[in-house]
Symmetry: C2
Subunit: 293 residues, 2 copies
């Protein structure tokens, strides 16, 4: 089965063709401009590939509720050209095939659950730490939406006493994203993350905030596995520090086999940065199955 996959991001659109086994045959990247210029490019590309279904993991916020009149829309995004844009409708109309749709991070979570290290698990969190911070959540065997979808990058944080940075989130100042996403690191320390590689205090503070968020996710969602991806997590030294802060913050309150083996509980993404595209393939496969069942 030939499936199209789209990882729709704020700076680039990654388009790919693959199959239901998660195999990727080809992949291109198109800069994200306006719907007027970017959509026809993508549609033309996918049309030539004769796909039977399309899956989209999309930047948000989006409306993933099939019973809603604005299902398939990108909603209140700061990328104004795409605000209230019916991306699913546009593809359905032009490609005449079923279209699956979810957030980019739910897509990545699904990729890891279907094809990666989270296979067989019913409860996981996929967190991306990049330009923004977002979480995909798989709960009791389903992608979690609720009244919208998780926006767990914006939870409120306890500031570390020695940190006086004011915070970068336009809505919450010192939420997780405001204190710990790439741009916050850059503004606090005056350099890009990659140039701060050797500065211990940078990654210690970063790990402190990420661990605080993971501690809250653990207490609220009880995931069986936590996967961390995104540009900032290329600083691999973060993992050891995060694990040790999580243990310190939980302070023995919860005892599970997962936490006892924390090196295999809080882990990097396993699919060579293809988790998003592979998740989109699965979103496409599911849309096809649903249409034909």
């Amino acid at each position: 089965m030939r499936i199209g996959a789209l990882e729709a991001g704020g700076t680039k659109m990654v388009c790919a063709i693959g199959n239901e086994k998660g195999e990727i045959f080809e992949k291109i990247s198109i800069p994200t401009k306006t719907p007027e210029t970017t959509m026809p490019e993508m549609i033309q590309w996918f049309k030539a590939k004769k796909i039977e279904a399309l899956g989209i993991g999309c930047f948000g916020p989006i409306d993933p509720d099939k019973d809603s009149p604005t299902y398939g829309y990108i909603t209140s995004t700061p990328k104004l050209a795409w605000k209230d844009y019916n991306i699913v409708g546009a593809f359905e109309e032009c490609l005449c095939c079923p279209v699956g749709f979810d957030t980019d991070v739910n897509g990545s979570a699904l990729g890891e659950v279907t094809f990666g290290q989270a296979k067989g698990k019913k409860n996981i969190v996929y967190l991306t730490v990049g330009t923004g911070i977002g979480a995909g959540v798989y709960a009791e065997g389903k992608l979690l939406h609720g009244m919208l979808h998780p926006e767990a990058g914006h939870i409120l944080m306890r500031r570390r006493e020695d940190d006086h940075y004011e915070g970068k989130c336009p809505y919450h100042k010192t939420c997780l994203e405001g204190l710990a996403a790439g741009p916050a690191i850059e503004e606090r320390w005056g350099k890009k993350g990659i140039e701060l590689q050797d500065r211990d205090e940078v990654w210690d503070l970063e790990a402190y905030y990420l661990a605080q968020a993971l501690t809250d996710y653990i207490l609220i969602l009880a995931p069986q596995l936590i996967i961390l991806g995104g540009g900032v997590m290329h600083q691999e030294q973060l993992f050891t520090r995060i694990r040790s802060y999580v243990k310190e913050m939980l302070n023995g309150y919860i005892k599970t086999k997962e936490l006892e083996d924390i090196d295999h509980y809080i882990v990097p993404a396993s699919l060579h940065d293809d988790q998003g595209i592979m998740g989109a393939l699965e979103l496409g496969r599911r849309a096809f199955e649903e249409k034909n069942s």
Copy 2:
């Protein structure tokens, strides 16, 4: 169908007989002493009632994982007499009927979803604020367990600047429970909650912390409804304040129809404090159905 229901708490065991419609025929309360004295009393009572199934909503932490060797146990509770006690096993052996088992708060969530104001919803949070703080979570149509079950009363909090109380949680000091459960209110202000009724500053601070927790639950779980129960929530003045702090903390970042109608989004329990027992009836019904399917 005659179903037994048990709401197992640290101070009392509420036992009831009812049916699959949530109707309660009789109800007694037995003080929680040790398993040696309390279990025979309950077993004798239930035995005489000729029940076809039993449902238990239990204080915890518990092991609700049917694939685990310690399924049905109360695990690392501070109530030492009940630590590592196989409560499901004991009832199954003596009552010879299927037994359903979950946390007390998941039980209450299930009661509200099956028989109460949350009927038809797939994502809700039930929070109890009493001697402790605990959350039951219904996610995508299922009670959430994950690697254990939510322990969302222990999430880490941002302290309000004018509050210098050190916090009461033996594990985390200033987690939600440590700052906002009944005993924390009592220790901070030197009087029981009920005697502080007229002290505005008490309930303003309490609402601030509860709202902070709800804001994080909203961002992580995206529930369609949040129900608050437990002794402290008898201070009904809390609801207006909590709703207004939640709006302030989210600061317009998430837009949903639920949040627009926040008076019907953050609400008191609707089942006259029977939500736990009614949830236990449903746990019993489900155990029966599973056994006979």
